[in-house]
Symmetry: C2
Subunit: 164 residues, 2 copies
């Protein structure tokens, strides 16, 4: 394929259709902003109340409310009335939300290494199984050997091939 | 701490300062949008040219150019002149960029499971070490046992404690 043919192919793409098919675009649309990941961190660390999350993240109320609403709409979290006080709500992760744990861990690890503030990482993690400081390492789910870019072969689905 | 004390603490926070310190906010500001993650995927799969990336992702030129510029400014990728054609450029990942591999893998895995289009995942991955279909599993970098939210203990740095 020559350069011009490639450019023509790109120009004739149905961009909105590819975006609809692309799981990366759909996924980051749900959780891709930093405030949303901060909320998820709080929920993973066991906070469930609006005011706890607000206090721990320092988020303005309008930002927090909008992000919680979007996460509920996307089935990432569930909202339920607090039994002892019907005016207040608990927020908990759904299965879909709990499976964002690897995303949270890898974003935290990269952020701590490459974009911490002057004070260094705000949160340190210790693994209760071994008792040591921990971060996330990546392994193949089939053979448990470490995963690296050079050990991956990619197969493109027909829908993807039609678009290039 | 009572509910009201927590709300007061949150209200008195210097939000901009916490955002500056928070590696999650700083990190997602760099790569948190889906188009940027698509560009990273192309670079990890070995594409280096502007027109290749445009054709494979279906991105409009103004979106692609802006994202590449931001990634260069943040030292995630490097831009270099193609030797055989001084009017064209190669884009390659820096060390900082290569270390986004775990983020890409975990976002892809979650997206494929929870937000694929009707046609299913567009890209399938095979591990050349074992030859099988693969996705990313998470292990502790200290003891290599699987990492799960309930096996983590969190320690908060002084800068974090001062803010709550």
């Amino acid at each position: 394929m020559t350069k011009n043919q490639r450019i023509d192919a790109a120009a004739s793409l149905d961009h909105s259709s590819l975006a609809d098919q692309c799981s990366i675009l759909r996924a980051t649309d749900i959780f891709g902003d930093g405030w949303t990941i901060l909320i998820l961190r709080e929920l993973f660390w066991g906070q469930t109340r609006y005011d706890q999350i607000a206090a721990h993240t320092g988020m303005a109320s309008n930002i927090l409310a909008a992000r919680l609403k979007k996460l509920v709409e996307n089935d990432v979290i569930e909202k339920s009335v607090v039994e002892s006080d019907a005016r207040r709500f608990d927020y908990t992760l759904t299965q879909k939300g709990r499976e964002l744990f690897p995303v949270l861990m890898t974003v935290m690890a990269w952020g701590d290494r490459w974009s911490s503030g002057d004070a260094g990482p705000l949160v340190q993690l210790r693994h209760t199984v071994c008792g040591k400081r921990t971060k996330a390492g990546l392994v193949c789910t089939s053979c448990a050997a470490p995963l690296a870019p050079e050990t991956l072969r990619t197969n493109f689905a027909p829908a993807y091939k039609q678009s290039i």
